[in-house]
Symmetry: C2
Subunit: 148 residues, 2 copies
């Protein structure tokens, strides 16, 4: 009995997260937080709800992640002028520095992960995983297809 794609993907993803967390635990940032900040960099001013969808966590979970990142002075909440219920999220300058500091680590990790793969194979892998993700994503969200 061979392992399924699901197992394989989960294994690799966990190893990625673990390795990333091990290398960055001194800087006090986790893989998930890094992910949040990376997305935020590309969507500054986004509200919490849509960002929660982007990084695939519950809104309350994102709310608490943002609490911690605000505490760490990496993220700033600004009142949405168009909706008093909502916050708009922005990165602080400190977050930019932090991202720059992390990038070599992330790049090195990626390089290690794809060691022995040719450029064509990496492209193939990316393409195939993206298609799997699209299949699963389509299955899950019948409702919202925003931004991104």
């Amino acid at each position: 009995m061979s392992e399924t794609i699901g197992f394989l993907l989960n294994d690799s993803a966990r190893l990625f997260r673990r390795s990333f967390n091990a290398r960055t635990k001194d800087s006090g940032i986790t893989a998930l937080q890094w992910r949040l900040i990376t997305y935020l960099k590309r969507h500054e001013g986004i509200r919490q709800g849509p960002l929660a969808e982007l990084i695939e966590v519950e809104p309350i979970t994102l709310s608490r992640m943002v609490d911690r990142l605000v505490e760490a002075e990496l993220v700033e909440r600004r009142a949405d002028p168009a909706d008093r219920r909502a916050w708009q999220l922005y990165l602080t300058p400190r977050a930019g520095e932090m991202l720059n500091g992390m990038r070599p680590i992330a790049d090195a990790l990626t390089a290690e992960a794809i060691e022995g793969l040719s450029a064509a194979e990496v492209e193939q892998l990316t393409d195939l995983v993206e298609r799997v993700r699209a299949n699963l994503s389509r299955r899950i969200c019948q409702k919202e297809k925003e931004i991104v």
Copy 2:
């Protein structure tokens, strides 16, 4: 800026888990528990420590997962005759039935995930992800040795 392999793998894996959990929440088993049981099926009699390594969780986490699975009468702890500190783990008949019940769900999910991929592409994907996993797995072992 394209997304990194790490992001992609994490996304896909999360979507897999989420979809699996959504479909099986009535049966009261999670993706991680299913994973544990699947590994256990292939390694009956294994001790907790090695199984924790296999499914990539801390020993204490596995200990508690086993607690819950014993409670649910899916797993049985037997004293290791060779080492009085250790338990050997076995599946109950009930676990076998449960696995059989889950298999169609898991198979359907896999089928949906690889929809649109040819058999050759699936093989390619499996091969490439396996190589990435091997790269990361090797890295982690080395790092652990360095630290210790």
